[in-house]
């Protein structure tokens, strides 16, 4: 019984922090905040959505906003996204469950 509880306690944070449930979007956010990925590489990863020069230009500008930041700022940006995901996964629905009315 104790072993089961310990395993569940260990697994629960991993489960909650396992991701947003949308690996694709997470990948895009990681790419945009990755300073080693260039504007051209980023545009290439989104090529199915870039249908004209104006959109290509907008995507480039957007990525440039991230390239303008220090590595520390980019790490903190990603850290916030992890916090955002964790907030909704582990606290929002738990609160909803605890406060919902039983009819």
């Amino acid at each position: 019984m104790k072993l089961v509880m310990v395993l569940m306690l260990a697994a629960l944070p991993l489960y909650c922090y396992a991701g947003s449930g949308c690996a694709y979007l997470e990948g895009v956010i990681k790419d945009i905040a990755n300073p080693t990925i260039s504007i051209e590489q980023f545009k290439n990863s989104l090529k199915e959505y870039i249908k004209d020069d104006a959109t290509s230009n907008a995507v480039g500008e957007f990525k440039q906003c991230f390239l303008n930041q220090s590595n520390e700022t980019l790490e903190n940006f990603v850290a916030f996204m992890v916090i955002l995901i964790s907030f909704y996964v582990c606290f929002y629905n738990t609160r909803k469950f605890v406060t919902s009315d039983v009819k």
Binding site: M5, L12, E26, C65, Q69, F80, I85, T94
Partner: protein, 89 residues
């Protein structure tokens, strides 16, 4: 007592599993907010997560740059975000 704790753990795990479907919209909403919400309002929203000040500052620094982009370009980025949504389902 032990049974109660085990049931609580199972319930939390179940809630975390169910919450995954909620979280993608949360990420999308935050991305939309960084694109279009006024800076003051966005800062208040970020502070509600009780994240470290450095993490909040990082988001605001990026937003400062995004706010310099032409509105039409921001609209194009938003459009791409909408097109990506089916991949979250």
């Amino acid at each position: 007592m032990r049974l109660w704790v085990s049931l609580l753990l199972v319930t939390l795990a179940f809630c975390c599993y169910q919450a995954n479907a909620m979280v993608c919209p949360a990420v999308v909403i935050d991305t939309e907010n960084i694109l279009t919400m006024p800076m003051g309002m966005y800062e208040k929203r970020l502070k509600a997560f009780n994240a470290p000040a450095d993490a909040v500052q990082a988001k605001l620094q990026v937003k400062q740059c995004i706010d310099q982009m032409p509105r039409e370009d921001i609209r194009k980025i938003k459009h791409i975000l909408v097109e990506m949504l089916p991949k979250c389902l």
